[in-house]
């Protein structure tokens, strides 16, 4: 979750899913013509069982990891999305209204029960779940997963110090279906379920570790198998699954084909005969295939949103896939010269007031982005605390001693720490000049930065924008100490073309805005923020998240910018049941084709 997966996904610029429809028994794998059904809708229609669906992968994305414990470097979303179709996690997030819920019928376990002042959690597996070889899914399988990550945490890409498995003192197996976790302290149940229990994934102990080997040894063996990409479809190890799908093909080129697991015992049995995840080297190649009707569930660049009617006429529906994410410009508070400027709350507020998020979302992102309001997804905050107001920004700056000479860049004329002064560390005559390191390769991001630069320039703030490839930006905008040379390399940073930060279901900020947090790139440090984050993590107060969201939104530790859709999806009208989950998980078992001609206008 979080930035890690975003960073991997970022350069891939959007997941594409394309479904190649095939009528039942069609050897060609081709489905009904896309223009047969012209009504637009995600659900409904007369369901036809069977068919082959092909989902296109992000540009240059190659699924390369099947083992559900992701090694560092193999945490891409497309890997975990496919894994969870084969190996069911205990809990899966589901969108309910504006919020995400973990109370899904897909869950492998009943809702967790917290006791002992929220220091103990008891989980009961649902009845009837079996592995594809007929063996039941038991708590031993969950314990097997836990032992693997506990003894190999350095090799687990999802490990963060103090979180799983460090925060579980003891794993107790009560019976075949019930286990209990003794935690190192009391946690907010909502947070622990959403951000910790979500990782728990039973693994087939009987098939993968029949001789009860040492967890380190068995982990090494499994990892060795997981690196043999060409053998994923044939290795007997990966044939024991408990999810709705099993592997049919896993090509080294990146094409993955899944077919229904006939012994799947969950409530959501697949309707299709096959689902294919198809790789594309570039977004252009995917777009060309999409236009030629070769994919059923694809994506288009935001700039083509204006042509959505054309796609509708071709028999597709256009549906931006909105992520559970926020997007922002990171501010380097430890930069030697820009740091003192950025540490002034009024200045950050003025910078925020000058970003016209609504216009940028509408014009530059063509409606495929929404304003970010604060440190949690926008739907969780009632209002934007700093809507675009250049006049208010100018007043704020003037009130704190900033004045332009000859209409140029603003300069500090009242240094000092008083209420009407520029602030601590700012010298008399210091210009209000900042530089931004932004990711290249996206017309929308580039235009967004031009718009912000233009808006700042009108207010007397000089913003130099430098564009570099994403990996360069990610390698530069890292937490740093004031004395480190790297800290001088950047003042503001942007790596959010596909969203800056994707949240786990509970959008808490312990990895993002807490002092010293691993993804606190700008070195934001504020005791009150830390206190509020701890409340979301440890207390059971349901209002804690709102308090945290509202406070940090007002403090502007980063500059909020429009949050783009993960991708602008284009889906064939006769393919129904596609739910674009904000956490980017997939559920092709819900997809189905509708009868030809059904629902025709």
């Amino acid at each position: 979750m979080g930035l890690r997966s975003t960073r991997i996904r970022g350069p891939l610029a959007g997941l594409v899913a394309a479904l190649v429809l095939g009528g039942t028994g069609l050897a060609t794998g081709c489905g009904p013509r896309a223009d047969r059904i012209t009504d637009v809708g995600a659900t409904g229609g007369t369901r036809v069982e069977g068919g082959t669906a092909t989902m296109a992968l992000p540009p240059a994305a190659t699924p390369n990891w099947i083992f559900p414990i992701g090694a560092p470097g193999y945490l891409a979303t497309y890997n975990s999305s496919i894994q969870s179709l084969l190996y069911l996690p205990l809990y899966q997030p589901e969108q309910k209204g504006d919020e995400l819920s973990l109370d899904s019928p897909r869950n492998l376990a009943e809702q967790p029960r917290y006791s002992d002042g929220n220091k103990t959690v008891t989980v009961t597996l649902k009845q009837g779940y079996r592995w594809s070889d007929g063996k039941p899914v038991t708590t031993r399988d969950v314990e097997f997963w836990f032992d693997l990550i506990k003894h190999n945490k350095a090799e687990w890409g999802g490990y963060s110090p103090k979180l799983l498995p460090d925060n579980v003192k003891r794993f107790q197996t009560l019976d075949d279906r019930t286990f209990r976790l003794r935690l190192d302290r009391a946690y907010n149940p909502a947070w622990f379920t959403a951000n910790q229990l979500l990782y728990f994934t039973p693994l087939p102990r009987h098939a993968w570790n029949p001789d009860d080997e040492d967890p380190k040894k068995v982990f090494a063996r499994l990892t060795q198998h997981a690196k043999k990409l060409s053998a994923f479809a044939t290795d007997p190890l990966w044939k024991t699954v408990n999810g709705p799908w099993k592997i049919r093909q896993w090509a080294t080129s990146g094409q993955v084909a899944l077919e229904p697991n006939t012994r799947y015992s969950g409530p959501d049995r697949p309707h299709l005969d096959r689902v294919v995840f198809k790789p594309f080297t570039t977004a252009d190649s995917e777009f060309n295939v999409l236009r030629s009707g070769g994919v059923d569930y694809g994506y288009i660049p935001p700039s083509v949103m204006a042509q959505s009617k054309k796609f509708q006429e071709m028999g597709y529906r256009v549906d931006p896939w909105e992520g559970w994410a926020i997007t922002y410009l990171v501010l380097n508070f430890n930069h030697p010269t820009a740091g003192p400027l950025l540490r002034q709350t009024y200045l950050r507020q003025a910078l925020q007031l000058l970003i016209d998020q609504r216009a940028i979302s509408k014009v530059i992102w063509h409606g495929s982005a929404d304003p970010t309001r604060g440190p949690v997804p926008a739907s969780l905050l009632a209002k934007d605390p700093y809507p675009y107001d250049p006049a208010a920004a100018k007043r704020l700056l003037a009130a704190h001693g900033w004045k332009a000479r000859d209409g140029g860049t603003l300069r500090c004329v009242r240094p000092g720490t008083g209420g009407d002064a520029c602030g601590k560390g700012i010298e008399e005559g210091q210009p209000l000049k900042l530089s931004l390191l932004s990711q290249s390769g996206s017309t929308e991001s580039s235009n967004q930065m031009q718009e912000i630069k233009s808006s700042y320039d009108k207010a007397g703030i000089t913003l130099d924008v430098r564009q570099q490839p994403l990996n360069t930006v990610l390698g530069t905008t890292v937490p740093c100490e004031r004395t480190e040379p790297l800290c001088k390399a950047w003042q503001l940073g942007f790596f959010g073309t596909a969203g800056s930060w994707y949240f786990p279901p509970d959008p808490s900020g312990e990895q993002l805005f807490a002092t010293g947090a691993p993804s606190n790139m700008g070195n934001w440090s504020d005791p009150r923020t830390d206190e509020l984050i701890k409340d979301t993590e440890y207390s059971g107060d349901p209002a804690a998240m709102r308090r945290y969201g509202e406070y940090v939104a007002r403090k502007v530790p980063v500059l909020w910018t429009p949050n783009p859709a993960y991708q602008v999806s284009v889906i064939r009208n006769d393919l129904r049941g596609v739910d674009q989950n904000p956490t980017l998980s997939l559920a092709p078992q819900d997809w189905y084709f509708v009868k030809k001609g059904a629902g025709r206008k």
């Binding site: 204006a306 930065m449 630069k453 009108k458």
Partner: protein, 304 residues
Amino acid sequence: MTATAAGAPAADETAVPTPSLARRTLAVFTRNKLALAGAVVLVALSAFCFLGPLFHPTDQVHTDLGQANLAPGSPGHPLGTTDLGYDMLGRLMTGGRTSLEVGLAAGLLATFIGTVYGSVAGYFGGWLDAAMMRITDAALAIPALFLLVVVAAIVTPSKPVLILIIASVAWLSPARLIRGEALALRSRDYIHAMRLMGGGGARAVFRHIVPNAIGTVVVNATFQIADAILYVAYLSFLGLSIPPPAADWGSMLSAGITYTQVGYWWLIFPPGIAIVLVVAAFNFIGDGLRDAFDVRLQKSGGNR
């Protein structure tokens, strides 16, 4: 004038003064209709880029999202607007300045470096020539676009940086060309005479070799400028141009391509046509100058 020179009666030849070299060159040049057309187009484009903003002033620094993507013919925007609300006609003028300035400067710089390098190698010969030419061969073996992209990715491009980057790969061709000229010229009698009188290598290169190869140098310079303008377009198209809000025709074309599917033709055709026109103009001028510097054509009055 040329007609007079060509068609005058033999009896009057002594009475008609022989036209100067410049006049003969101009005469042959003006006979080449394509070259003349190229010159006219170049003058027109230069006037459009450098004088145009006086008649059609626009703000090419600040965006105006309220005016984004307006079609040609919209009030105040004869060529429409860009996706950030910049007036397209005004941006074409501003972008053209960058393309012409950088192309011209980079082409001339590459020609200057190549001329000096090639003259020195050709005149001195021997091991120095061998070493200098192997360096040139090695550099020519690396695709120019690859070098440009690598260098442009390392440094943040600005006009001077772009000029240096392009000139640093474009000087190789003129160097080889002029070296060939120098090899032929160094065995001429007047060079020997100069050396017998105590003239040094520098004098030979700058006072004799380069001036006598000037025809080749000038012709090559026009092609170098055309190539440099294309290089600017390549780099810009790949997103390695001068950072916005500055623009050039290549970056405008690159930005416009995004909207191909949407049908915003006015973002694509104007910069594309401008690039084609200016490159073709320089090539036609180069062809015309080559003919004009050809002594045989001057003698025959431009008739081949």
